[in-house]
Symmetry: C2
Subunit: 250 residues, 2 copies
């Protein structure tokens, strides 16, 4: 990935990363929203450790901003549970734990399974077509790319594939809830991604799961699609658990 290492806390100069679709109708170019995007990205990628104190002086220096837009950004991240605010003691990166990992992934698996089942019930032809399109694109990720690029491309297409599966559910609000859970999972997921994308075995297993899932969905087999979705989403949990122990994140 193209991000600074944890020790490099020099200020950003590029544009902020594209914000998730959760923050829909807010295409403002102020510093507040940039700070939000930068901070979120940095927290997700582990530039800051879980529980780490977010010193205003440091943030000011790193992002070359005043206190006001930073506090606004942090307030939003508090709402998203990526940051916690303590009375007169400033902000900290939200802690991570095995318990939270299990909770978030359980919630994701249940919600996503429901969305898939709703989509089976409500989805139209365009929805089906998009699934096939994204499945194809994902299957065709060749390993001719560099390491970072490979990870990036696979992840993007993988997300696009899963988004296509649930797109037919017809509920804007449930998709937003899904995004929100995904954002909270991002830090845990980041650990898993690196482990998985470079393992041919793991990648092949995923490929098979995706194929089965597409089968069940196109056959409109709600029961089976739900079960497969839950299993598919829960598979990373033991892997991430091990990684967290190994890296002393718990």
């Amino acid at each position: 990935m193209d991000h600074s290492s944890p020790t490099d806390k020099s200020p950003h100069k590029d544009k902020p990363p594209r914000q998730s679709s959760t923050q829909q109708g807010t295409p403002r170019q102020n510093m507040g929203i940039s700070a939000y995007a930068w901070l979120k990205q940095d927290i997700i990628c582990g530039v800051y450790q879980p529980g780490e104190k977010l010193l205003m002086s440091r943030l000011k220096e790193r992002y070359a901003l005043g206190i006001s837009p930073l506090r606004e950004a942090l307030s939003q991240l508090v709402s998203e549970h990526l940051v916690v605010a303590i009375s007169q003691r400033g902000y900290r990166v939200a802690p991570m734990s095995i318990e939270e990992l299990a909770d978030i992934y359980d919630a994701r698996s249940q919600l996503e399974a429901m969305l898939v089942q709703l989509a089976i019930e409500r989805g139209d032809d365009t929805w089906e077509a998009e699934i096939l399109a994204k499945a194809h694109t994902l299957a065709k990720v060749a390993e001719v790319h560099g390491a970072d690029e490979m990870l990036d491309i696979w992840d993007r297409r993988h997300q696009a594939f899963h988004s296509a599966l649930v797109a037919g559910c017809g509920s804007r609000q449930l998709l937003i809830a899904r995004e929100s859970l995904f954002d909270q999972a991002a830090r845990y997921r980041h650990l898993w991604l690196c482990q998985t994308v470079f393992s041919d075995r793991a990648l092949a297993a995923k490929r098979q799961e995706h194929a089965d899932l597409v089968d069940a969905i196109l056959a409109r087999d709600a029961k089976r699609a739900g079960d497969l979705t839950r299993d598919h989403i829960m598979t990373p949990v033991p892997i991430i658990t091990d990684l967290m122990h190994a890296r002393g994140l718990v």
Copy 2:
């Protein structure tokens, strides 16, 4: 209710309303969080109209605060979709629409049904006992109270009852998602509450639905409990739709 009328924009002097459990581990007494709670309450109760511009000068006066804590509060409300921010044009109350109403209630009904089914699968004896307790308390709301008090008590017990139903689901994250959807529904729900609580017919109908729901749940009939939950949550939608047309909120 004990809130100011839409035209009364005098500053608050009391303590801010208790924040929802979504904002769990943040019991700080700063002005930022007070502003958040006050603003949220005022938006939900209709002190500000949907789409209304939130002038900084007005907010400063009304809440007797500086710009900084107000912007922090507004940033959080943007995350919760109760307020929208527009580039260099400040903040507005999020608009309301029939489409959003339908979307939010559909999402709530699906999510809540899933939570009830999960609770049936995972809930223990304490969960069952709490359901009976809250159902009893709700059924015993006597009409000996004043109008506002009656509405307040019934609403509180009604919420407690429904919370008890889903409490057994075992997923902290899904309960948070539920709270979030509930907060978004609050403005619409507020319209419905007044209409319902003072209609004996409506109240009796609700009572029956609740009794059926408890039956199905204690019988661990997941299918039926899910269906009843979806229906129960969707019933206010046509009523609110009519009210919105009547009051020109659309």
